[in-house]
């Protein structure tokens, strides 16, 4: 296996003005590239870039990538429903929304990602997954791995080691999947459990499954070995050289427009704002002095922002003026703890300075923020 620098490949081929043309062409109907970055947003941006700019008619592409700890949700999913956002924030684990459909996955360096780029017409997931299974079996013939109808790869007929998702555009398509080599299973299960109750939404739900690392089955396996085996099989099937070309997702001259794509994937509007409309109906147990108050909260969230907000408080528990300010302030605001904290602390500053009021207010607001 030879790792060539990308620029070398460039010198071999003709450079046309339009990035689409035979920019990256090598002899043969395929190209294998690997990202040098572990940043989930940069790598997702590379997928977008290839999908938008590359002509896949003459050659298909296999893209290999790995990410530092991140949770990746599907295009039409609800992050509050899918993962423990509080834990993510605490552990500094990134949250990304990909453009393909499907469910939520946890990535870390023990997980490898494979993206198969083809034209829309040649889109075919089963073939790709069978290629992976063939590669795994060639590496370790005793592995019991097979592809299911749901496009999962199971180990020992029961443990999921790979999940699939796909994106189809007008002329191109891609199918990407994960492969668990040596991921941290305890972090995986804790972050993928949502603590948020009372959510009602039509977002695509994830189907939880028991997972296992290939490393647990055979401790001699590493991510590098698996990547190499799959690349080799791809090369054989596409009749190309077993060369993996490294690309740097931060290289703007190579991938013009990539930094914009990377930025867009990190915006709040994309990650949270693309959540399909949902409602949250919760009962806060506010322990105040010697009693516990049951406060019913109902909110409708659209585009990640609170559209409608109802808080059922006992009368006069808060001065009516302040209560209406709270509801008014929350309406239209992001369903986000940071923004809500800023709002409620500001409202506190501009209202009468009464210790009793302050403690009630702080208690109520902190409970509400926990919903986010």
């Amino acid at each position: 296996m030879v790792l060539q620098s990308f620029k070398n490949c460039l010198r071999l081929s003709c450079v046309l003005r339009t990035p689409k043309a035979c920019f990256w062409s090598t002899a043969g109907g395929g190209l294998i590239i690997q990202s040098v970055s572990n940043d989930v947003y940069q790598n997702l941006a590379v997928e977008d870039w290839i999908h938008d700019h590359m002509d896949l008619e003459k050659q298909q592409i296999l893209f290999l990538w790995r990410n530092s700890p991140a949770v990746v949700i599907g295009r039409h999913q609800n992050p509050w429903q899918e993962c423990n956002l509080r834990l993510l924030r605490q552990k500094n684990i990134k949250l990304a929304r990909r453009r393909s459909g499907g469910g939520t996955v946890y990535h870390d360096l023990g997980n490898i990602n494979l993206t198969f780029f083809t034209t829309r017409k040649k889109y075919e997931r089963m073939g790709n997954l069978k290629l992976i299974v063939k590669a795994l079996k060639a590496l370790r013939p005793q592995l019991d791995v097979h592809v299911t109808d749901r496009y999962d790869i199971l180990l020992d007929r029961q443990y999921k080691i790979s999940g699939t998702a796909a994106k189809l555009g007008r002329t191109s398509a891609y199918h990407h999947c994960t492969l668990l080599c040596n991921a941290d299973k305890s972090v995986l299960s804790s972050v993928l459990k949502s603590p948020y109750k009372g959510l009602k939404s039509n977002a695509t739900p994830s189907v939880p499954a028991s997972v296992k690392n290939l490393f647990e089955e055979d401790a001699s396996l590493t991510s590098e070995m698996l990547l190499d085996a799959i690349a080799k099989e791809y090369a054989v099937q596409h009749q190309i050289d077993h060369h993996i070309i490294l690309i740097n997702p931060a290289d703007e001259t190579l991938l013009p427009g990539i930094s914009n794509k990377t930025k867009e994937l990190q915006t709040w509007e994309w990650v949270y704002g693309k959540t399909p409309k949902f409602s949250i109906s919760a009962c806060l147990n506010v322990a105040y002095k010697d009693s516990v108050l049951d406060v019913k909260v109902n909110m409708d969230v659209k585009h990640g922002r609170i559209e409608v907000c109802n808080i059922d408080l006992p009368e006069q528990w808060l001065p009516p003026g302040l209560y209406s300010e709270l509801v008014k302030g929350l309406t239209g605001s992001k369903f986000c703890p940071n923004e809500t904290t800023t709002l409620v602390t500001t409202l506190l500053k501009v209202c009468p300075q009464d210790d009793e009021l302050h403690s009630r207010w702080t208690l109520l607001c902190e409970n509400m923020i926990r919903l986010m």
Binding site: R17, T18, P19, K20, D52, H53, G74, R75, H76, R89, N92, S100, G101, G102, G103, R120, K121, Y123, E124, Y151, T164, A165, A166, K167, L168, G169, R170, T171, A173, H175, N202, P256, G257, K274, P276, K277, R305, G329, S333, K334, C336, P337, N338, E339, T341, T342, L343, V344, T345, T346, L347, L348, K349, V350, P352, Q353, H358, T362, C365, E366
Partner: protein, 476 residues
């Protein structure tokens, strides 16, 4: 002289005619452009039912997840219409036609069927799939250049609006590199191309030449005039600017700022500024920085400023007070919770360091580090953001010298610190030395704070910082 005149006259006439020639032709083109008119699609188009095309893998039905357009919107060929999902695959459906959306056959979360109509699009009856036509009498360039879809076997994708812009500016679409999806030419590409043209946009034909200058022998006085006339006056061609005003609702951080500042408006502010010589403090910090680092803490100047402020507040507690709504009572706060203005991605937040009066400079540095990392991660809690009694804003880290800070209610004072500059100053012996100077601008609530109090507090604060050893005497 006569000869000169004649010569220059004739040359001028010569130039003029050429100039006029140029001008005329462009004027001609201009007038043609002014006679440009469009056929705008009125409801006389033909309604086409755009069916959901085959997804592949034998899929027959999908769920509609998001619409990118609504009824009444106009779309161009290849614009995204909606996003549908089928079994872990997300598909972007793009339009096949230019036209206006007249009906959406499904709502969000409905099941859509392959082969059945997805949307109804009204297209221009006479044109079919062709773009909106501009009727031009005698175009300066071949009409084909602008509306031509196939150039050298390569489809030039551009919306009708972009094509019009290109035509108005006499640009061949084949000369522009498109940066949009599928190499589509966007308005930005045209504008960038225009920006690269040096000086005026001269019509490509007839070629506007800058007539070569007269032989320099005698025509010196006439030369400038000639030159002036030789260079054709740039025609004020309207360069199309496609920027649009954008209106957004005020939410989140901005809303909080609106509330705070509107409340602050009720406070009659007065300002007081001074200059602090930080030469000694700079040296002290340099000595202490490595020690703090061994303890895992980044030491900036702020902990010193904050501690000095607290020492000052012990002497002038009215600056750490709060006036009630009716201005009837003043509450002297026991805790010195000193707020530090922070600039984050989302906007201004002011967390505070609690009980500075019992903290050491190092304690303050630790707390500041904690608040700063939480602040940049957007994870500050309510307790960090409430209970402040006095605020310092170190705007100098970004820049500036003097400022006019706004008091954050329910506090009564605030200080803005400018940047530290190296300036020449006189020392006790009358010699000039390199001093590290920082400006401070205080604002205080004039209802309960008077100028003298503010000035004395500022002097005390200044003395602690100019001579850090003096802080040792009063540290608690």
């Amino acid at each position: 002289v006569c000869i000169h005149r004649v010569r220059s006259c004739s040359s001028i006439r010569f130039i003029k005619s050429k100039y006029v020639c140029v001008f005329d032709k462009s004027a001609l083109k201009f007038s043609h452009q002014q006679r440009l008119f469009r056929t705008s699609p009125v409801s006389c188009g033909q309604i086409v039912q755009f069916k959901l095309s085959d997804i592949g893998e034998g899929i027959t039905e999908v769920t509609v997840k998001e619409w990118y357009i609504k009824e009444g919107d106009s779309v161009s060929q290849f614009d995204s219409i909606c996003e549908v999902q089928s079994d872990k695959a997300s598909v972007t459906i793009t339009s096949r036609y230019d036209g206006i959306i007249r009906k959406l056959h499904y709502s969000i979360d409905d099941i859509a069927f392959v082969g059945k109509p997805l949307v109804d699009i009204e297209i221009d009856a006479s044109k079919g799939v062709a773009p909106e036509e501009d009727v031009v009498e005698t175009p300066p360039m071949s009409h084909e250049e602008h509306t031509h879809q196939e150039i050298k076997g390569h489809k030039t994708l551009a919306t009708p609006a972009v094509r019009r812009l290109a035509m108005e500016n006499n640009i061949k679409l084949s000369e522009i590199v498109g940066t949009g999806k599928d190499n589509r030419i966007l308005k930005e590409d045209i504008l960038n191309y225009l920006a690269k043209q040096t000086g005026a946009i001269l019509p490509p034909s007839p070629k506007a030449e800058i007539v070569p200058p007269l032989r320099k022998t005698e025509a010196v006085p006439a030369a400038p005039k000639d030159k002036a006339r030789r260079i054709p006056v740039p025609l004020s061609r309207p360069i199309a600017f496609s920027g649009k005003d954008k209106t957004e609702p005020v939410t989140g951080f901005q809303k909080a700022m609106v509330k705070t500042m509107s409340a602050a408006l009720k406070i009659p502010h007065f300002g007081y500024s001074d200059e602090i010589d930080l030469t000694q403090l700079v040296q002290l910090r340099e000595e202490l920085k490595p020690l703090a680092e061994t303890r895992g803490v980044k030491l900036s100047f702020m902990p010193f400023f904050i501690k000095a402020a607290s020492l000052g507040l012990l002497q002038y507690p009215i600056l750490n007070a709060s006036l009630d709504e009716n201005c009837q009572n003043v509450t002297y706060k026991a805790s010195h919770n000193i707020g530090v203005a922070m600039d984050t991605e989302q906007g201004l937040i002011v967390p505070n360091v609690k009980n500075v009066q019992v903290c050491s400079v190092f304690d303050i540095a630790v707390e500041l580090n904690r608040l700063q990392s939480l602040g940049s991660a957007g994870q500050l809690g309510t307790s960090d953001l409430t209970g402040g009694t006095f605020t310092l804003s170190n705007i100098g880290t970004i820049g500036g010298t003097y400022a006019k800070p706004v008091i954050l209610p329910p506090e009564v004072a605030i200080g803005a610190l400018g940047k530290i500059q190296v300036l020449p100053r006189f020392n006790g012996k009358g010699e000039v030395f390199k001093a590290r100077i920082m400006n401070v601008s205080w604002s205080a609530d004039h209802r309960i704070i008077d100028g003298a109090t503010m000035a004395r507090f500022s002097n005390l604060w200044k003395s602690y910082l100019e001579n850090p050893a003096s802080m040792l005497l009063d540290l608690k």
